[in-house]
């Protein structure tokens, strides 16, 4: 009997004595909040914030919905068609055609990616505040630079967006009361005041990149005087210069080079290339590297804009009256393996940057040889006869950059958020708008043009008629209106397919935007059949994006729709 009682009691005792160790379980495989409140911890979180430059947040629905390189904003502009099959990514086609709705998934994931970035930067700032005995101002400055970058992208796309500060981590549901210009300026100013002029690591923000970025912000705010001052400071005193070869900006040669002011440093690490460009839908369909997916095709309108007159100047007003000859509807060169299809390439004068930007029939495509036409295009009838060339693989360096994941390419080609040519053109615009200093503007524009002129042109394929490349500096700007037009045109030529065009059109004003896009839809139908009926007319509301419907829903209606979109 005693034994049995002892048995019973000892069982009870054993379980009653369950220790604190049993009842409390510490998390495994994670970093504690306290160990991150050190300089090392803040540095780790800062890398985590830079990692959001590509806007690949955890839980993203599709890698290509959110975009560090702004590729789908180009697709909304007159520079680029969506490409591929019309039914493939129908939501992107709707953006391209201006008949998208507030529930468009691209718009929502872009928004979420940018806010993830804002908050990653906020965490750095919040954690740095907990560290004692170390001067973390440089880290905070970099974080604030990044936050300003994300807030700038939010503001320029949606205008009325909520401000999420580092104290809002646990309560990020804030009303969208307006553009964040004040906060963006403040953050960049803090960065300018606290960052070193140069950094040992090429991807970090520094004082000069902060100044250039602040200049860009001023330009978007139409604060031309401030923009002119700070951009000219960068030009006159900063460490940047134009690369001798225009084309080096879009491949290995220009990475972290003197023209790169601030870039997303994509990297094609082995395995799954997590640090490659994961929203990259641009590559050829098939083609020399057998790539997927053939989105993002330059427009006929863009190709036409590279036409020049005999003196090597662009046709500012008349460029789109006739088309550069294309091979739309023609079978590919040697498509059947037997007969070459006769195609005579356009022999009028063109800016040499055409063939660094637009891949077209019978011209060398990035060192991979003769572009054959439809065979390397997903669906020519839908996307047109052209493919893109910038930030694409090049035959001479593709080994260094190619990253693959399933059907997708994740290349390690850096994307230039701001390059020095952009700084020159922004400065030109600022001096024209602020002080009508046409000669300084002329100088900046011509520096850009001369670099293009003096670059090595795309070599002619043997047996193909040579292209008539003509490019010359502007002799003078007769008046501010002409200068403005010339600078805007130059931005398009120099920076085409680099993610700027839609934002430029939008900041030039609703009238400019509506007129440009609707003219483009009309003209482009000459090349792509039925385009005018697939598209909806651009309206003034299209200069900003609607606040994503799901964002409003998730906010419990704390967010409200932008007035134009109500």
């Amino acid at each position: 009997m005693k034994k049995k009682i002892v048995f019973g009691l000892s069982l009870l005792f054993l379980t009653l004595s369950c220790s604190k160790d049993f009842r409390e379980v510490t998390p495994k495989g994670v970093i504690s909040e306290s160990s991150l409140a050190t300089e090392e911890g803040v540095n780790l979180l800062l890398i985590g914030a830079y990692s959001m430059l590509d806007q690949m947040r955890t839980g993203i629905n599709n890698d290509y919905y959110s975009t560090g390189d702004k590729f789908w904003f180009d697709i909304m502009s007159d520079d680029v068609h969506k490409g591929a099959d019309n039914g493939d990514l129908a939501e992107l086609f709707q953006l391209s055609n201006h008949n998208y709705q507030t529930n468009n998934p691209f718009i929502f994931d872009e928004w979420k990616g940018l806010y993830a970035g804002v908050n990653r930067a906020n965490i750095v700032i919040a954690q740095a505040a907990l560290v004692e005995g170390a001067d973390l101002a440089p880290q905070i400055a970099e974080a604030r630079f990044l936050r300003a970058h994300f807030n700038f992208n939010l503001t320029r796309a949606w205008r009325d967006v909520p401000l999420i500060d580092y104290t809002d981590l646990n309560d990020p549901n804030k009303p969208n009361d307006g553009p964040l210009w004040a906060s963006i300026e403040e953050d960049f100013q803090f960065a300018i005041d606290n960052l070193p002029p140069t950094q040992a690591e090429s991807g970090r923000a520094n004082q000069w990149s902060a100044k250039a970025y602040l200049g860009k912000v001023y330009l978007y705010e139409h604060k031309y005087t401030e923009a002119a001052a700070i951009l000219q400071d960068v030009i006159n005193n900063g460490p940047y210069s134009l690369l001798p070869e225009y084309n080096d900006n879009f491949g290995e040669a220009g990475e972290a080079g003197p023209e790169s002011v601030f870039a997303i440093q994509f990297q094609n690490d082995g395995g799954q290339s997590f640090n490659g460009n994961r929203s990259f839908l641009k590559p050829l369909a098939g083609g020399p590297l057998n790539t997927c997916c053939g989105f993002y095709q330059p427009t006929q309108d863009l190709a036409n804009s590279f036409k020049t007159d005999e003196s090597g100047l662009p046709l500012l007003d008349t460029y789109n009256q006739t088309d550069i000859k294309n091979d739309q509807g023609l079978p590919s060169f040697e498509a059947d393996g037997v007969t070459p299809i006769p195609f005579v390439i356009y022999d009028g004068p063109v800016d040499p940057r055409l063939d660094f930007t637009v891949g077209r029939r019978d011209i060398d495509w990035n060192g991979f040889g003769r572009f054959p036409g439809a065979a390397w295009i997903r669906v020519q009838a839908n996307g047109g006869p052209y493919v893109s060339k910038k930030f694409q693989y090049r035959a001479w360096d593709y080994d260094a950059n190619r990253g693959q994941f399933g059907q997708f390419e994740r290349p390690g080609i850096h994307y230039q958020i701001i390059r020095y040519a952009d700084v020159l053109l922004m400065a030109a615009e600022a001096v024209i708008e602020s002080e009508s200093n046409l000669s300084v503007a002329l100088d900046y524009v011509n520096r850009v043009r001369l670099r293009a002129k003096n670059s090595t042109y795309v070599p002619t394929i043997p047996g193909v008629n040579p292209t008539n490349y003509q490019i010359e500096p502007y002799p003078y700007f007769p008046n501010a209106e002409y200068a403005r037009k010339a600078v805007r045109f130059e931005r398009r030529l120099e920076l085409a397919t680099e993610g700027h065009r839609w934002f430029d059109l939008s900041r030039y004003g609703a009238d400019y935007y509506v007129n440009t896009i609707n003219t483009f839809f009309r003209n482009e139908a000459r090349t792509i059949r039925g385009l005018e009926n697939l598209t909806s007319p651009a309206l003034p509301k299209h200069v900003i994006l609607p606040i994503p419907l799901s964002a409003i829903d998730l906010s419990n209606n704390v967010l409200h729709q932008n007035t134009e979109w109500q």
């Binding site: 049995k4 379980t15 495994k28 780790l44 990692s51 964002a551």
Partner: protein, 1045 residues
């Protein structure tokens, strides 16, 4: 029937009997000591049987071995009674040994029910429970024991899945939470919250399934708020010869119904109509550009050249490749179970082995399970018993679903090109065919994938009689699962977006959990009072380790070549986890019965969970219940028609702490190759870290309180019975991981306590069986369950607050807000189709650039009445909660023939048919369409159901709206079985049953999707009711043969 007393008397016993009789006569004159053994129907000793002298006060009861001793006079009559057994009256006479065999009283009263930590006579229970007739339920060809609950247990909603190996969604009494609504499973001595365990238990091993629905579950406190399902497995019978049973069935299964799609000719016409509607001259890369679409003979390649696998695949277009026809086939289903059970004097045992192989109705899907079980119980001494249950099973699941792909693929694409390769649109040559890889190619390429699991599940216990009425028990249960999932992404050269490198994903995980329960039980009857007390201590620990490794770039694609080491690229650890949590509990339960008719019970449990921060980590959950058996009262006792009338009421608090993460109270930071590393220096990758989950130190138990009032009525010897329960269940401080605002960091949302949800409902079950002595026997049982689910409040500070469900490609479909049921559909309400531009102009503005654009398009209701239709005009479009669900089971027997019919249904629920975004609106323009588009609006078809077709989706038609919401009611013949019983004594076979059976033979429904049983929640009950292209249930035909000898 009275046993013959003399039968038990053997001459060897006479001497001691005489001796004893004499001695008793000497000491007590007219009294004598009488002792004996009380056994049950199968000679098992019965414990706790009350032995009384009729008309007197002297009483005794049988001990653990079933023996009793009582002092009685020879003229006395002994009464042997026990709840559930027919009372026997035996005159003492001159005997001193009286062995008695008690026979069960009436069928329903014999039942004992396994409740928390012990068993109880069903008659004396005061809680609301649903016991499943396992004999009927498990006779159907199911893979997952959870399927057996469907329609058979009132108050339990079960939505089964068609995917072989899938786990049904089981919800007890509505949705008490917005978090995890899954019940707690008790399998013998083991507790598990992971519903997938039921896929790894052989249904044939199950002896009983009992569902605790109300506060009677409170003995399981912290984890009981969603109900408790108690499963006990079979065991042997002491002192019986081994019985060998072989159950087997073989059959096949097919898809029950398929939505109709357009053939390629019709699709071409729809394209032409789409172009014309949008003002575009018709022209399609495949259908030409004539006045009428022409179905092409070839979609790729040049038929005048010889076949070339690389440049010139010849791919003949077939008219009308219906991909839904191509992905379904007839699957073979087979199942064999062998069991041996029996027992010796002190022990009993069951050994079983089972094999099931179920081919899915979609190509290359299936489920295989091998299972074994060993259950042994033994009495080591008079006072010590021990036993164990052990099941080891292995399952192999191949899960794939291409329903959505079959709808989205072009009917022009054939299965194969002329070289025998999978056909596809091909890079840059097959325009107008969509970018999907064909569903056939997808399924075929996945055929070597697998998800293999070993699970060891069992418990061992020892039980010691410390005192006569005090029993201590210690039970240790374990569950160990090893899971190995192997998924290959193969190259797809025929695709317009080809995969160029082979990739392999391998997930290895080990899940271990153990439960150690120690209880003390005290049972005592004092005259009319009987009490039963139970106290216990319990510890639970759960542990998960998981690694998910992915490698790309393999030289070969042979299934046998693909192991992680043969991949060329650097390995990547896509996920790795190590999670642990513990639960430590003290509990007490007391039952009291007066005169076996006034019943009361009380439970209290204190739980301490590692999932919450110290300070919030403990919770106390009390409950109590009362019962009154009116039929035992004098005023009813003489009403022969009423055999049982019991009133019951219970009230209690229960908890819920089921959160899929172990440490929700603290922020979790991690280094993540994929999302926090960056190349800060050109050419290198730097390590970074990120916040991956937000914590909430204030998180505490979710609490629900439940009131239940019910009665049980049995008539005519319980041939007819009726049980009705009314309940009100309120959950407050719901634990929610509500999606974060879109302006938040990209971390997992914190779990918070908020809001209050109520479920009010009624469970009814009734049954009738005809007189047992007739040749033609029949019985029928019906159960109906209804609940009203309502989110009472979400956030007291913001009455307009709501919760959003999952974000679909076209936005958020479901919403949960104050005063509404959980997960209602939210979108625009269609009130018609515009017929003229005047009508458009006069109606509230829908944003058409000019009124003519609106003709033939949906007209939406102006919910806010402001004359503009926009996102603010979205409204509640219906919800997935049924008005009621029901099950009807009928058994008919004539001589050796048995016929079983089982109907099951759901009434009044709505389903959101998400695949319509593809099949009706052409979100993939070049994909196939439903035949519903033939009734789209045109000038000549003005009373259309669908707005006019177009090249792109306009007028917000792809966004959630009432067109997608359909009546989800259905009535289904779940099972029909015809069996014949016979014996072959010459071969020693005691019993043979042969049967034919069909399941899901017909369904009456208006739902137009694949299957109205579409309740998959995609992991969250906030998205309940959305059909995202589910794997439909199969129609099954089986032939079965059961032997025992």
């Amino acid at each position: 029937m009275r046993p013959s007393i003399y039968h038990y008397l053997k001459w060897r016993q006479i001497v001691p009997v005489i001796f004893l009789t004499l001695s008793h006569l000497m000491s007590f004159a007219q009294t004598q000591r009488v002792s004996g053994l009380v056994t049950g129907e199968t000679d098992e000793p019965l414990v706790g049987i009350s032995v009384r002298i009729k008309g007197g006060t002297v009483a005794a009861s049988t001990d653990a071995k079933g023996t009793y001793t009582i002092t009685a006079a020879p003229t006395d009559i002994l009464l042997f009674s026990y709840i559930g057994y027919a009372t026997q009256e035996i005159p003492v006479g001159s005997q001193s040994t009286l062995n008695v065999k008690l026979l069960p009283d009436m069928q329903t009263l014999e039942e004992t029910i396994v409740i928390g930590y012990t068993t109880q006579s069903k008659k004396l229970t005061t809680g609301a429970m649903s016991q499943v007739n396992t004999k009927e339920a498990l006779a159907t060809p199911i893979s997952n024991a959870g399927d057996a609950l469907q329609g058979r247990a009132s108050g339990v909603n079960v939505v089964t899945g068609g995917q072989p190996g899938s786990t049904p969604v089981i919800r007890i009494r509505g949705f008490g939470s917005t978090n995890d609504n899954g019940p707690l499973y008790i399998i013998d001595g083991m507790q598990i919250t992971d519903g997938s365990v039921l896929a790894q238990i052989n249904p044939n091993d199950i002896a009983s399934m009992n569902v605790l629905k109300d506060a009677s579950a409170a003995i399981y406190g912290a984890r009981a708020a969603n109900g408790v399902i108690i499963i006990t497995t079979k065991t042997g019978i002491p002192n019986s010869k081994p019985t060998v049973s072989l159950n087997s069935y073989y059959g096949f299964q097919q898809v029950a119904s398929k939505p109709e799609l357009l053939n390629s000719e019709q699709l071409g016409e729809v394209f032409w109509q789409s172009y014309r509607n949008d003002g575009i001259t018709p022209s399609h890369p495949q259908y030409g550009n004539g006045e009428f679409p022409v179905v092409p003979e070839y979609i790729r390649g040049n038929p005048s050249l010889p076949y070339d696998p690389v440049t010139n695949r010849l791919t003949r277009a077939r008219t009308g490749n219906n991909w839904l026809d191509e992905i379904f086939h007839t699957g073979i289903l087979q199942n064999y179970d062998l069991s041996i059970q029996g027992g010796g004097e002190k022990s009993r045992y069951l050994v079983s082995g089972g094999y099931q192989n179920r081919e899915g109705i979609q190509l290359f899907t299936g489920f295989k399970r091998y299972s074994t079980r060993l259950n042994v119980e033994t009495s080591a001494t008079d006072h010590i018993r021990f036993g164990e249950h052990l099941s080891v099973s292995y399952s192999d699941v191949l899960a794939q679903n291409q329903v959505q792909g079959a709808i989205g693929s072009s009917p022009l694409i054939p299965n194969y090109d002329e070289g025998g390769n999978f056909a596809g649109a091909g890079p840059s040559t097959g325009a107008g065919l969509n970018n999907l890889i064909t569903p056939l190619a997808q399924l075929s390429r996945g055929q070597d994938n697998f998800n293999r699991s070993w699970r060891i599940l069992g418990d061992a216990y020892v039980e010691v009689d410390i005192l006569k009425d005090l029993i201590a028990k210690s039970s240790f249960g374990i569950s160990f699962t090893n899971n190995f999932a192997h998924t290959v992404v193969r190259q797809s050269p025929e695709s317009p977006e080809p995969v160029r490198t082979t990739a392999l994903n391998e997930i290895q995980s080990n899940t271990t959990s153990w439960v150690w329960s120690n209880t003390l039980r005290y049972n005592k009857t004092f005259g009319d009072h009987s009490i039963s007390l139970l106290g216990g201590v319990e510890a639970v620990r759960e542990n998960l380790r998981l690694s998910n490794v992915r490698i790309e770039n393999f030289l070969l694609e042979d299934a046998d070549y693909l192991i992680l080491g043969t991949g060329a690229n650097a390995p990547n650890i896509a996920d790795s986890r190590w999670q642990e949590n513990t639960l430590y509990s003290l509990f007490f339960n007391g039952e009291y019965a007066y005169k076996s008719r006034y019943l009361a019970s009380f439970s209290i449990r204190r739980d301490e969970s590692s999932r919450f921060a110290p300070g919030n980590n403990s919770g106390v959950f009390p409950s109590g219940s009362l019962g009154w058996i009116l039929s035992e009262e004098d005023f009813l006792k003489n009403t022969p028609a009423i055999s049982l009338l019991k009133l019951r009421a219970s009230y209690g608090q229960l908890g819920n702490q089921s959160i899929p993460v172990p440490n929700p109270y603290t922020n979790i930071y991690e280094v993540n190759q994929e999302f926090s590393f960056y190349s800060i220096q050109n050419g290198t990758i730097s390590t970074g870290s990120m916040l991956s989950a937000l914590g909430n130190p204030n998180l505490h138990w979710e609490r629900s309180q439940q009131l239940d009032i019910g009665f049980d009525l049995g008539l005519w010897n319980n041939r007819a019975n009726l049980s009705v329960d009314l309940y009100n269940k309120e959950t407050k401080d719901m634990i929610i991981a509500s999606p974060l605002p879109s302006t938040a960091i990209d971390a997992d949302a914190p779990y918070i306590n908020t809001g209050k949800v109520s479920n009010k409902g009624i469970d009814v079950s009734l049954g009738y069986s005809n007189a047992p002595e007739t040749v033609f026997k029949w019985d029928v049982s019906l159960n109906i369950s209804a609940y009203k689910n309502r989110l009472e409040s979400l956030n007291d500070n913001n009455p307009l607050a709501f919760l959003s469900g999952a974000n679909f490609y076209n936005g958020i479909i479901t919403r949960s807000s104050n005063g509404q049921p959980l997960s209602y559909y939210y979108g625009r309400d269609i009130i018609g189709i515009f017929q003229t531009s005047e009508e458009v102009a006069a109606a509230p503005s829908q944003g058409f650039v000019n009124p003519a654009d609106g003709v033939g398009r949906f007209r939406y209701r102006d919910v806010d009445g402001n004359g503009v239709i926009n996102d603010l005009d979205r409204t509640n479009l219906g919800n997935p909660h049924p008005d009621f669900v029901y099950g009807l089971n009928a058994n008919l027997a004539y001589k050796s023939f048995h016929l079983t019919l089982f109907f099951q249904g759901s009434q009044g629920n709505e389903i959101y048919n998400f695949p319509k975004v593809y099949s009706d609106f052409g979100a993939f323009f070049n994909g196939d369409r439903s035949v519903r588009v033939l009734d789209a609006w045109t000038e000549t078809n003005r009373d259309a159901t669908l707005s006019k077709v177009g090249v792109s989706v306009k007028n917000n038609e792809s966004a959630p709206n009432s067109y997608y919401v359909e009546n989800g009611s259905y009535l289904r013949l779940k099972n029909l079985q015809l069996a014949y019983d016979f014996a072959l004594p010459s071969l020693g076979v005691k019993n043979i049953q042969a049967y034919i059976q069909g399941t899901n033979l017909f369904t009456i429904t208006k739902y137009e999707g694949m299957d109205p049983e579409a309740g998959a929640t995609n992991g969250s009950d906030l998205t309940f009711g959305v059909d995202s292209g589910i794997f439909p249930l199969a129609r099954t035909y089986t032939l079965g043969l059961n032997f025992s000898f």
